[in-house]
């Protein structure tokens, strides 16, 4: 079970901390754009939490049924998702840095969005890989 909780904790921790940082940086600045950005960020965190909970419940059920938490397919799916999402997140960071050169954004906000983007990319890639399967592995 340690293997299960650490990644979920890490994912949730990173997103929550980054979300809080954005929220704090937004207090006092009554700009509409920042409020929308906070809202989007919170929705993203909520989606990530829900996904984490669903994934956790599925794995706990699997253990209760006497089946392994991880097997060769699940490990391959995680590995493939990580590879693809790493490639995608390189572009996310490039875009964020590009945006920063035109708009004055606090570096905390930039990093927060980067982390949320990375987490979301991994979750989405995992979902897609999990539904499509791996034929070429």
């Amino acid at each position: 079970m340690k293997k299960l909780f650490f990644p979920i904790f890490l994912l949730s921790g990173v997103t929550v901390v980054s979300g809080i940082r954005i929220f704090q940086s937004g207090i006092g600045e009554e700009t509409k754009i920042l409020f929308i950005a906070e809202l989007i960020h919170m929705v993203m965190i909520a989606i990530l939490f829900i996904m984490g909970i669903i994934y956790g419940i599925k794995r706990i059920r699997s253990t209760e049924e006497g089946l392994p938490e991880d097997d060769e397919l699940s490990k391959k799916i995680v590995r493939k998702s990580a590879g693809i999402s790493f490639y995608i997140t390189l572009f996310i960071w490039l875009i964020l840095l590009f945006i920063q050169s035109f708009i004055d954004i606090d570096s905390r906000v930039l990093f927060s969005f980067g982390f949320v983007g990375m987490s979301l990319t991994f979750v989405i890639t995992w979902l897609i890989t999990n539904s499509c399967g791996i034929k070429d592995a």
């Binding site: 392994p68 938490e69 097997d71 791996i134 034929k135």
Partner: protein, 62 residues
């Protein structure tokens, strides 16, 4: 790669969960195998074939 897992599972009266337990994988892996969404490792193919008391080539075909 095609396989006869679903057919053989029905013949042996095994559920997906039973087969998953026998070969020590998650039920989802059996679902993926039956749908042809996953090509198993040689070890898993061997374990599944042993459950059905057949050769690998009798269960999995290219």
């Amino acid at each position: 790669m095609h396989n006869r897992i679903k057919e053989l599972r029905a013949k042996f009266g095994l559920t997906q969960q039973d087969l998953a337990k026998k070969v020590n994988v998650r039920r989802e892996t059996i679902v993926f195998l039956e749908k042809g969404k996953y090509n198993p490792s040689l070890r898993l193919a061997y374990d599944i074939s042993r459950v059905f008391k057949l050769k690998i080539e009798d269960v999995f075909q290219f």
